[in-house]
Symmetry: C2
Subunit: 273 residues, 2 copies
């Protein structure tokens, strides 16, 4: 008889937090989710959400999350403090900070709540897309480590080639899921909301320094919707509204099985140029 | 010779804060901006932004603001604490809390920064609208006090009449400005982002309890753009993406003179029904 040690999925390894006695939790960056500078913003968002999900006083499921990327995160350990700022009957508000050597690197607020059945309507429609298998998987540049944890099949607006030139539109639409596949949960959904390369690359047809300053996620999926989604790819789409003064904003939708809108997300991004 | 005492605009009166010696500032609700329960969410957002703008350590202008409405604000005084969580060379991150009797009622985070000229492009287009004078001013119900501080001229999606019935779309577009007119500044722009009545009223053709849970504003306008806007009306448009489980999300754009996108804004709203 042989036993096989179960190895955590790289995503779970990256967002893992160990509670410390002083109410903080400690985590550390992992090479698998590193970006050009520091970790992938999506994995940081997932980690801060994880801190709330793990908290013994947590009530309900995530409704909204805003993450502010205040400064770079160095490779290595960090401390996460999640504090319930107010607990109501069916909603709960959180304030979260990630520090390294006592210095704040990331802050977040989150609203959690108990979902209850109401009138429902999805007013927007998913972007047109061929079936997953009909779209080729993209190759991600080697120097962007985190990209290798996602299977990305661009329907529109793939990473521009060096000779692409400027584009009139900043829309990217892709089928995307964790690789190796992993059942969708709230932290993974939060990370997927940040999976889009900077819109300014697409518009200008060239790479330039860029980084998310503030990311907001509205979670429309209940726990049952996430279970139904399982390991299937989601259809994710994003576009910018305005570029100027060194910043642009991006709005995104993440669509699941049966045309379910799992999340909408918005971010403000710094860019140089 | 006669002298005339200058009376503050009701907006400035509502967002006024008096610094206290312990680093907090004190404000109070005003009847002019009261809503069905507590104050208009936009005036609270403006007040929290005011707290950062007034802070002696503040660097640059607002880039993004997220306000979480954690609990009701009772008529009367409140304390606002604004704390710089991290100051970089050209950006600064803030955490803000509004308390009454020591209990958190509202939290916010904000990113401020120094704007610098870069490549600029507005990818979205303003909604079609006739000139301001060609649109009638709306009558706001008497029981919603704050509405009387805004001149609203609905181009599309005005407040539904009792016999309106359900609608397929949740879009409202309106010319809107403070009344009496007041030069636009960042707090007023933040408040304008929350000027839309709940989208669920329009979709369902009936009123029901609803309230903003989390509001995010991305400020695209620089200080010069605000000066250029002056007292002119802005063209504001909003729509929902998804309604379900007691919440819906709304995305909005605020357009100024010469087709300038002054701000984009998003919110998650609680509703009953």
């Amino acid at each position: 008889m042989t036993t096989t040690a179960t190895k955590a999925h790289p995503f779970d390894d990256a967002v893992a937090l160990a509670p410390a006695s002083d109410g903080t939790a400690t985590g550390r960056t992992t090479a698998a989710y590193s970006n050009m500078v520091g970790p992938f913003g999506g994995i940081t968002a997932a980690t801060l959400l994880r801190a709330v999900l793990d908290h013994p006083e947590r009530l309900g499921d995530p409704l909204s999350l805003t993450v502010n990327y205040a400064g770079p995160i160095a490779d290595g350990p960090f401390a996460v403090t999640a504090r319930p700022t107010r607990t109501n009957r069916s909603t709960q508000h959180w304030s979260v900070e990630l520090r390294q050597d006592g210095v704040v690197a990331t802050t977040a607020t989150a609203v959690f709540g108990v979902r209850r059945e109401t009138w429902t309507s999805t007013e927007v429609t998913p972007p047109p897309a061929p079936a997953l298998d009909a779209v080729d998987a993209a190759e991600f540049p080697d120097f962007i480590a985190w990209g290798h944890n996602y299977e990305m099949r661009f329907v529109e607006g793939g990473m521009p080639s060096p000779e692409a030139g400027a584009a009139d539109e900043s829309t990217s639409t892709l089928w995307v899921r964790d690789t190796p596949p992993r059942p969708l949960d709230y932290p993974a959904l939060a990370a997927l909301c940040d999976v889009f390369y900077p819109r300014v690359f697409l518009r200008r047809g060239q790479f330039a320094p860029a980084g998310t300053v503030s990311l907001t996620v509205y979670f429309h999926a209940g726990a049952d919707d996430l279970t139904a989604q399982g390991e299937d790819a989601v259809l994710a789409t994003a576009r910018a509204q305005h570029f100027g003064d060194g910043y642009f904003d991006q709005s995104a939708e993440v669509w699941g099985r049966d045309g379910m809108l799992l999340a909408t997300s918005h971010q403000l991004v710094y860019f140089k140029g």
